[in-house]
């Protein structure tokens, strides 16, 4: 039996900074301001159901765009030489060395009215508002979380033996069928972890919408705002979000197991 002693500091950390706050959130969610058990916070929280659905919608769209962008990129990276692979992966990581907020500010600067992109489009006679709408939020989300889609996909695809691709060609697969019958099924685990790693944070993140989305906040922002004045309602929204995300994770894992068995 392996010793569990090395895990003690981590367990202590978890207890103090994760379990206890979580218990507190649940406590607040199910009590009223006087500390009595109550479902009042959830009733109050239902006001934000529209924002909630909007957030899930934005998260879904952002995740799909990330997947579509990352998949071919990850595949071509995985077919590069080892040196090339680590180079490209490093370049993907470079933006992550910068602060999250800075990156969002950069997008504000690019997209703002009379900003560089706006001016370029205007010279071509295109007059659109680039910032303060869902599109800008999605752009920000995709930019923030694309590496989290590419990396797990690349990790899985790098393990696909090129002789499997040759074997498929040898047995009569053209390019499309090689993808459909070999590469896609074998990369399902990467898709699942990529989707999870992008969807979960995009659904719950805050600040991106505040800076890029104008008046349209996302649920993360709402939790932040509400929590400052009303712990109970804020906690209730957080609990609902947590349950939805947990449900999503369970669904994704089920889906993954099924894929792995049936192919």
């Amino acid at each position: 039996m392996k010793s569990k002693r090395p895990a003690i500091p981590y367990i202590g950390w978890m207890l103090v900074f994760t379990i206890v706050p979580l218990v507190m959130v649940f406590y607040y969610a199910f009590t009223d301001s006087k500390g009595h058990f109550s479902l009042e916070p959830f009733r109050n929280a239902s006001v934000y159901s529209e924002v909630f659905l909007y957030s899930l919608w934005i998260a879904l769209i952002s995740t799909l765009i990330c997947l579509v962008l990352a998949y071919p990129l990850a595949f071509s990276i995985s077919r590069c030489s080892e040196r090339g692979q680590s180079m490209i992966v490093m370049f993907l990581m470079v933006p992550m060395w910068m602060n999250f907020l800075l990156r969002i500010y950069a997008w504000v600067l690019i997209l703002q009215n009379y900003g560089p992109l706006d001016m370029i489009l205007k010279t071509f006679g295109v007059d659109v508002t680039l910032i303060g709408n869902s599109g800008a939020v999605i752009v920000g989300m995709v930019y923030e979380f694309l590496p989290f889609m590419i990396l797990p996909l690349h990790a899985v695809m790098g393990k696909i033996d090129s002789s499997l691709i040759e074997a498929a060609q040898d047995l009569g697969c053209n390019g499309f069928y090689v993808f459909r019958k070999v590469i896609l099924p074998l990369s399902v685990p990467g898709i699942i972890s990529g989707v999870t790693m992008v969807f979960v944070p995009t659904a719950s993140t805050f600040l991106v919408a505040q800076y890029l989305g104008g008046t349209q906040f996302m649920i993360g922002d709402v939790i932040e705002r509400v929590f400052q004045s009303d712990h109970n309602t804020g906690s209730a929204i957080a609990v609902v979000l947590m349950v939805v995300i947990l449900g999503f994770l369970v669904f994704m894992n089920r889906f993954g197991d099924k894929e792995a068995v049936n192919g």
Binding site: S163, L164, E166, A167, D170, L171, G172, K181, L186
Partner: protein, 468 residues
């Protein structure tokens, strides 16, 4: 019986980043034959197979399939199927789906696919394994699945790339026989790649021995063994005593100081040749009854025969005999004339002579530096004035391969390694010339090594400027 070629290769040249892999390969593969591409690693056998399968595009030359040029036909449209070296089974599919993979693409009906897969699994002895995941199979079973997957598509030609390489010896022997039977049963053309000469001799109708990107010899296993075309083939197939000899006249060769009768003709007078004698063709007789004498150094019992090592002058002979000999005893060696195989040397023996101008010299340290293929080489304990022309004669044993990876000449290509009784005779090729080296170490053919010179063994002399 087998005149119509299914696959023909014509003057195939293949380079991989300036390295010649296939050098003008031409090969006809006949219908329903079991042909083996045999050679050491790096000889181009796998590349040849991949050219036929369509995974590699030769830079020049044509590939024909039943008379039609198929250079531009992609792999998935060729009527050949491959059994890959490490099987390349699809890990996400079970045995049935792996075997059915090719059939499903052909848009066959479900029942037809099922029937064919079942039939094929029965042929390879895997009945009842349909639902198993391939990961749960042993190496031999995975091998069978890979073979079934290729055969079920009913290709004209099956390509097998060292399919038994990963199996243990016992299983490999069984599978050799099974594969041969399978080929006869299914009446398909098998193109088999291996570096194992025994495997090649056991299974093949014809063997194509390859070396350094060229075909050294094509023939039946008997031909290849009994009448090897050159010293490389003799060395690679079975065991052989390969000794440097000199052809005195037709049917007379000088070998280790003795004149022996042979049956080969048509060589020039005093032409240096390779003499090949199989260990089982050597007769042990009383010392006064033979022209060659030697002392028994070692006797090993091998079951069917004794393997006897005999030192004859400075050459170690390998003899297979059913009669044992005493170690240390003097014996006579006799070989029947028709068992002495005379072969032209593959490379006219290169010399290691270097004639060059002194690049600079250092009186104080007593060194002389020359330029060799763009590299400065310093000769210690020798002094010649700058600009003087000198000739350096290096005997074969003055060359060696740098163990620490830093040689006088880096990246020298090993062209051939042949055991010549006592040493390996290694032919090397640098950018501008060939070298001959003696070594006791088995070097790997077709690799690049750093070459060093031991100038203590060299003879260095000054030559006049106009002498070449």
């Amino acid at each position: 019986m087998k005149q119509n070629a299914v696959v023909s290769l014509k003057d195939i040249n293949f380079k991989y980043s300036n390295e010649v892999i296939l050098n003008n390969i031409s090969l006809d593969i006949y219908d329903k034959e079991f042909i083996t591409l045999l050679g050491p690693s790096g000889c181009g056998k796998t590349t040849t197979l991949r050219v036929i399968a369509g995974f590699e595009m030769p830079q020049s030359g044509e590939v024909y399939f039943e008379g039609e040029k198929i250079n531009d036909v992609p792999p998935h449209k060729r009527s050949v199927n491959t059994v890959f070296q490490k099987y390349a089974l699809f890990p996400h599919l079970n045995v049935f789906d792996n075997v059915a993979f090719g059939l499903k693409l052909k848009k066959m009906s479900k029942s037809e696919i099922e029937q064919k897969v079942k039939q094929m699994l029965a042929v390879v002895d895997l009945k009842g394994y349909e639902k198993r995941p391939v990961r749960a199979l042993s190496g031999g079973q995975q091998q069978r699945v890979a073979i079934a997957r290729a055969l079920v598509c009913d290709p004209k030609v099956v390509l097998l790339d060292e399919p038994l390489g990963a199996l243990d010896l016992k299983l490999r022997k069984d599978m050799q026989i099974e594969l041969k039977q399978l080929q006869q049963k299914t009446q398909k053309t098998f193109v088999y790649v291996t570096h194992d000469q025994e495997e090649a001799l056991t299974m093949s109708d014809r063997v194509c021995v390859m070396n350094n990107g060229v075909i050294a010899q094509i023939g039946t296993p008997e031909d290849i063994y009994n009448e090897p075309a050159n010293a490389f083939v003799a060395d690679f197939i079975g065991e052989a005593n390969i000794i440097n000899g000199i052809m005195l006249e037709d049917c007379k060769v000088r070998l280790l100081g003795a004149e022996l009768d042979c049956v080969d003709k048509g060589f020039e007078k005093n032409q240096p040749v390779d003499v090949v004698i199989r260990p089982e063709d050597v007769e042990v007789v009383a010392p006064d009854q033979a022209k060659l004498n030697g002392v028994v150094e070692d006797v090993i019992f091998k079951g069917v025969h004794f393997e006897i090592s005999v030192r004859c002058q400075n050459c170690l002979w390998l003899i297979h005999s059913t009669v044992s000999q005493k170690v240390g005893e003097k014996i006579g060696i006799r070989v029947d004339p028709f068992n002495i195989h005379i072969m032209e040397k593959m490379f006219l023996n290169p010399t290691n002579d270097i004639t060059t101008e002194v690049y600079y010299s250092d009186k104080e340290n007593n060194t002389t530096t020359i330029r060799l293929e763009g590299v400065e080489v310093t000769i210690p304990d020798t002094f010649y004035e700058e600009g003087k022309r000198i000739k350096i004669c290096l005997p074969p044993d003055a060359l060696y391969i740098a163990g620490d990876g830093v040689g006088h000449l880096d990246e020298v290509y090993i062209e051939s390694v042949i055991w010549k009784g006592e040493h390996n005779e290694i032919i090397l090729e640098s950018d501008e010339r060939k070298w001959i080296m003696q070594s006791d170490i088995d070097e790997q053919v077709a690799t690049y090594v750093p070459l060093c010179f031991d100038f203590k063994k060299a003879e260095i002399s000054e030559v006049s400027a106009d002498e070449k």
